[in-house]
């Protein structure tokens, strides 16, 4: 999803990793109950929040997400006993790292949402969208393009470089 | 030694003088330091909010901010003996956290007044402090003249236990009863502990306010109470000072002393009458509480 697509200016783009048993089901429930909420979230379904590989989170940001949301079962309720605890620990460590790397903590969120909490899905999504707005776009892809401009400044033969570095 | 800030509110400076005096006496007897909040202002009570709510919240919040200022650093315990003050202060705290518009407006108002509230104040009612900080056992230690045989109706009034204080059951609180027991007296079980005393209506619309009052007094006596103790200046005023009028115009058939629970404690601790403001009572306690044994009240 590209930032240009929305006619009325920039819209935060959030990638959500939801566990199959609780949060994804809750999202379905939100649907069944027609709980309208912000269209900024794209859900990726995993079996368990324990499957969320920190690489996914980083890749999401690098590919242009403005926020990443992880949804899992409440502590003690994990369908696989303790996957959500592993998710929580990774989350806490990731958060520290991301902060060092200049990514605001509000952009990365972990929520426990049980299968019956469709309402919570709505609240969390809307909340997160609202907290992201003031932060503005993270826009790493665009930033990367800007950085790489400096590579071409002194290039005598554009073609040359392309043929190799392209 | 724990230190507390006192928020007297308007009543403790007039009709409720005895409440302030007895609290002072009891607290210092228990070795609790209690100093009055400097330059406090009216909490807004119920009337102010009827005209302008945000101003009312801001008024209340000013006291909270002052408390922080005067306690600089350490987390202040602000003791509000008047039920109305207690409710308004706790309500203000809760609404400031719960509702954006209140928080924003009040915070801005405080800034205008060169103040700021860091949400650190604990608003306490004397009941809460005495039972939860001091502890019933500790209180019992200080009893010199146990009030054996005295039957006491504990009247809490409406605002101390609901809906923000949450220090006791909303309908049948027991904090005061538990204290009274420790004093050697016997709390009567009755159903009007939190029944409205009429509040300011006794003044504005007596025909609506006073009957409420009457039923409380009658029920207390019917339950064999020799004395009513209360923890709110307005309740105390309504219940005690209007008994004549009630007899004259609303067919009240009984007379019963109405003390602040702190006065009763003072008596049991063997403190001096004047220190407890006993002389300010309309319905005096005949030859102190002893004659009240068995609840044989002087019926008018």
């Amino acid at each position: 999803m590209s930032p240009e697509v929305n006619s009325n200016g920039w819209e935060p783009r959030i990638i959500a990793f939801f566990c199959n048993w609780c949060t994804y089901t809750a999202a379905d429930l939100a649907g069944v109950s027609r709980l309208r909420h912000a269209p900024n979230v794209r859900i990726i379904r995993l079996m368990c929040s324990g499957r969320v590989d920190p690489q996914f989170v980083l890749d999401a940001f690098v590919q242009g997400a403005d926020g990443v949301l992880i949804g899992g079962c409440h502590p003690g309720d994990c369908h696989y006993m303790e996957g959500n605890y592993k998710a929580l620990r990774r989350f806490r460590l990731m958060r520290r790292m991301l902060e060092n790397m200049g990514i605001e903590p509000q952009r990365f969120r972990l929520e426990w949402i049980s299968a019956s909490e469709g309402e919570r899905v709505r609240t969390v999504v809307n909340e997160m969208v609202e907290t992201l707005r003031p932060l503005g776009p993270l826009a790493l892809p665009q930033q990367r393009v800007r950085w790489d401009e400096e590579l071409h400044e002194h290039v005598t033969d554009e073609k040359e470089v392309k043929s190799h570095a392209g | 030694m724990k230190r507390y800030l006192l928020y007297p509110g308007c009543s403790l400076h007039s009709t409720g003088k005895a409440y302030g005096e007895s609290i002072g006496a009891v607290f210092s007897h228990l070795g609790l330091e209690l100093s009055e909040l400097k330059d406090w202002n009216c909490c807004g009570a119920t009337s102010y909010a009827s005209i302008d709510e945000m101003e009312a919240f801001s008024l209340a919040a000013r006291n909270l901010a002052l408390a922080e200022q005067q306690k600089d650093g350490e987390r202040p315990d602000l003791v509000a003996p008047c039920n109305a003050c207690y409710l308004v202060l706790t309500k203000t705290q809760q609404y400031m956290t719960q509702y954006d518009n209140v928080r924003k407006t009040v915070d801005r108002a405080l800034t205008e007044a060169g103040l700021m509230y860091r949400r650190s104040v604990r608003v306490r009612h004397p009941l809460d402090v005495l039972v939860n900080d001091v502890g019933l056992e500790a209180l019992q230690q200080h009893v010199k003249e146990p009030l054996n045989g005295l039957r006491v109706a504990c009247y809490y009034g409406c605002q101390v236990v609901r809906p923000f204080g949450l220090i006791d059951d909303k309908f049948h609180p027991t904090l005061m009863d538990r204290i009274v027991e420790k004093l050697g007296a016997e709390p009567v079980d009755w159903s009007l502990k939190t029944f409205c005393c009429g509040g300011s209506l006794t003044g504005t619309i007596p025909d609506a306010g006073l009957p409420l009052n009457r039923s409380i007094l009658t029920e207390a006596v019917r339950r064999g109470a020799g004395v009513i103790v209360t923890c709110c200046p307005l309740c105390q005023f309504n219940l005690e000072c209007l008994q004549n009028k009630l007899r004259a115009r609303y067919g009240l058939s009984v007379e019963i002393p109405v003390l602040y629970f702190t006065q009763l404690m003072g008596l049991a601790f063997g403190l001096d009458d004047r220190a407890l403001g006993m002389q300010r009572l309309f319905v005096p306690v005949p030859r102190r509480w002893r004659v009240l044994k068995g609840g044989d009240t002087v019926h008018a």
Partner: protein, 213 residues
């Protein structure tokens, strides 16, 4: 009903006799359909709209006996936009803020706040019963605190009776004297030192300046 003589104070109001208060036919055009949501928003939360008319408030209220409408009816009418009837009612002024209804309401409606809101609406609309004691009392209290930062019960009562019914002052004299003897009553004005700052605080909180949530 003992209360009716009291109501004599509201002169020239069609609402003087509550029995004649509510017509049995209403046209939709007489109603203000936005009123319900408006009040709900002002009185903290949309909960008002979730009222199921169970009547707990009415039966908890120690004063419903003296009200022209029970609180339940007030909420129903507010919800349905019976603005005029609601703002003219005595109910809202009789609420003693004992919060009994609020803690019992099965829908957790902040009924006391609803009453406060309605009082303010009534004042704003200028339809509240002018010489009905309670609004007068509130106004006296308000002015006093605004001016002094504190309320002094003595003066408040004095002013109040002068405004409403001077004769009752006499009936209160005995009480007043006893209060003085016992040192529980004085006319001396208790006030906040730092009034300028307090005034600024109040100015900043004025309705016009309220920060929307």
């Amino acid at each position: 009903m003992i209360l009716w003589p009291m109501l004599g104070f509201i002169r020239g109001k069609p609402h003087a006799d509550p029995r004649a208060r509510m017509r049995k036919l209403k046209y939709e055009k007489e109603l203000d359909l936005a009123f319900g949501e408006h009040v709900a928003a002002k009185a903290y939360g949309q909960k008002l709209l979730s009222c199921i008319q169970c009547g707990t408030c009415g039966s908890t209220c120690p004063l419903s006996d003296y009200m022209d409408y029970t609180p339940r009816k007030i909420i129903a009418m507010t919800r349905e936009g019976f603005k005029e009837d609601v703002l003219n009612s005595l109910t809202i002024w009789l609420c003693a803020s004992c919060y009994a209804c609020t803690v019992q309401c099965p829908r957790q409606i902040h009924i006391t706040d609803v009453m406060y809101t309605l009082k303010r609406e009534a004042i704003a609309a200028g339809v509240y019963p002018r010489r009905y004691p309670i609004p007068v009392f509130s106004r006296q209290f308000f002015d006093l605190v605004r001016r002094q930062g504190r309320n002094s019960e003595g003066r408040l009562l004095l002013k109040f009776y002068l405004k409403t019914n001077p004769f009752r002052l006499l009936s209160q004299a005995w009480l007043g004297l006893r209060l003085m003897w016992t040192g529980r009553f004085s006319l001396k004005q208790d006030r906040v030192h730092d009034m300028q700052k307090l005034k600024r605080l109040l100015a900043a909180a004025a309705p016009s300046k309220e920060v929307p949530s």
